[in-house]
């Protein structure tokens, strides 16, 4: 979206927009040269928040929450990719790609938050001077969830938890999107959607890996069917995914290829958001507090 157009549009309904920005026109003019191009829109969003007397806290909190989950995921894949004998050779390229993606997301979100003037989240025991700062060797995560899941010893278990992290990550991003609603944050919304789609690709891939590797009991599709979890113990991560009502329209009542839309496809066609407290409750057992 063109930045000047945004100002012009706002001026139509709020002629005092420039005054609200309180002499920031010069700032606006010189903005592009001062901040990284990728982070510019987020910085602009934060400026509008200030102009209208709101703080950046809602946007910052949402991005920091996403960052916390990205760190969790990155560390999970980093450990797995460096555990000999865990991931079969044919599957390794995919998980190396996913690990690299999570690191990119960490870097992007960290830069965006810094540019906004918000302190980026860092995990417990974070050490900026280490070789890979995003990797926390010890003390931050317990991916076994207190010894429940032998994720780095058993590949099937690793996949089950990976799928759950990714599906939950997609839902968590969706739960944060309302913090980015409104024209002032339209670019943040766009970027958050761009990231969440890559998380969805990860989820689809891991589900496909499981399908190929003979997870016969549920024979997973690359998308979430009803509220079916990979194992019963992870049911809570999938609650609400069986929703068939969208905007007051019951999807299973709509005409399908023959008859009405099947329930499995009606639920798979929409990923469902999870709010931050729900996600925190689900992932906290994987953190060492």
């Amino acid at each position: 979206m063109n930045f000047r157009n945004i100002l012009a549009e706002i001026e139509k309904t709020d002629p005092e927009v420039y005054e609200r920005l309180s002499g920031r026109r010069d700032v606006l003019r010189s903005f592009g040269s001062k901040v990284a191009a990728a982070a510019l829109p987020i910085a602009v969003g934060s400026m509008f928040k200030k102009a209208y007397g709101k703080t950046t806290s809602a946007v910052g909190d949402a991005l920091n929450f996403a960052l916390k989950l990205e760190y969790l995921e990155f560390n999970y894949y980093h450990v797995a990719n460096n555990t000999g004998g865990l991931i079969p050779g044919s599957d390794q390229p995919g998980f190396q790609t996913i690990e690299a993606h999570e690191l990119s997301h960490i870097n992007f979100l960290t830069n965006a938050l810094t540019t906004m003037g918000v302190t980026p989240y860092t995990p417990k025991n974070y050490n900026a001077a280490s070789n890979i700062p995003a990797y926390i060797p010890s003390g931050a995560y317990d991916f076994t969830k207190g010894g429940t899941y032998h994720v780095f010893e058993d590949y099937k278990t690793f996949l089950i938890v990976a799928q759950t992290f990714e599906d939950t990550g997609v839902r968590a991003y969706q739960g944060q999107m309302p913090a980015f609603f409104g024209s002032a944050n339209s670019t943040v919304l766009q970027q958050a959607l761009e990231i969440s789609c890559v998380e969805a690709r990860h989820a689809a891939h891991i589900r496909y890996v499981r399908r190929l590797s003979g997870a016969a009991a549920e024979y997973p599709a690359p998308w979430i069917t009803n509220n079916i979890p990979p194992i019963v113990a992870l049911q809570a991560n999938y609650l609400g995914e069986d929703n068939v009502g969208q905007e007051g329209i019951t999807i299973t009542s709509l005409p399908g290829a023959s008859g009405t839309i099947p329930q499995a496809s009606a639920t798979a066609a929409f990923d469902e958001p999870l709010d931050a407290p729900t996600v925190l409750a689900l992932v906290t057992p994987f953190f060492i507090l």
Binding site: E194, C197, A200
Partner: protein, 214 residues
């Protein structure tokens, strides 16, 4: 798979080849008549109609792909292809219901560059179509005034990304994210740009989209 089935399928594709080469025309759909382009509305209505148009394209693609499923398709692939078809029909019918009397009429669609009998053609075109709709949904979501609609676009776009990842993985394992940007982020594109691409590749109907937000 019994051989008799294969033979009959091969015969079918020989017969259908001419049709596929010329592009499959959905003749049941009402043709646009006269010089007047189909008006898609303004504001949120235009954005919903725009997405309704794209979902019609996707649903038509998979409807055809299931009916004349590609040679050598596995049971798993046919099952998931059918599931994707039904999800896209769900999206299409959702937009139709949401738009009510503002919905554009069913449109004329042709897949002249797709050979539905050929696995590679179907899988690569499916991924390409899914990627187009992903960029379209991301680009359109922030333009909506009614944030209830934004939320629905958000719910759908990650599912379209799942579809894209799947078709890429089936075609070439581990390529689920081929084409995403340098920050490991999917791409976004404006409604007018996406509609133009869809128009060029898949749609015969002409639209008046001058009031489509961008």
């Amino acid at each position: 798979m019994e051989s008799g089935y294969d033979v009959s399928r091969r015969r079918f594709f020989q017969l259908a080849g001419g049709i596929a080469g010329a592009g499959i025309l959905f003749s049941a759909c009402k043709k646009t008549s006269g010089p007047t382009d189909v008006y898609i509305g303004s504001g949120d209505t235009a954005l919903l109609n725009y997405m309704y148009i794209l979902q019609q394209v996707e649903a038509a693609f998979y409807t055809q792909a299931v009916v004349t499923n590609y040679y050598g398709i596995s049971q798993s692939e046919l099952q998931l292809l059918t599931d994707v078809r039904d999800q896209e029909i769900a999206h299409r019918e959702f937009f139709k219901a949401l738009l009510g009397s503002d919905a554009v009429m069913p449109i004329d669609i042709a897949f002249s560059s797709v050979t539905f009998a050929d696995r590679t053609s179907v899988l690569t075109n499916a991924a390409q179509l899914e990627d187009l709709v992903v960029t379209g949904l991301i680009g359109a979501a922030p333009l909506l005034t009614n944030t209830d609609y934004t939320r629905e676009f958000n719910k759908m776009v990650t599912v379209e990304a799942r579809h894209s990842a799947y078709f890429k993985d089936v075609y070439a394992y581990n390529t689920f994210s081929t084409g995403v940007g340098s920050n490991a982020m999917d791409h976004s594109n404006s409604p007018s740009a996406v509609l133009a691409i869809a128009q060029q590749n898949y749609i015969l109907t002409k639209f008046d989209s001058r009031k489509l937000p961008n």
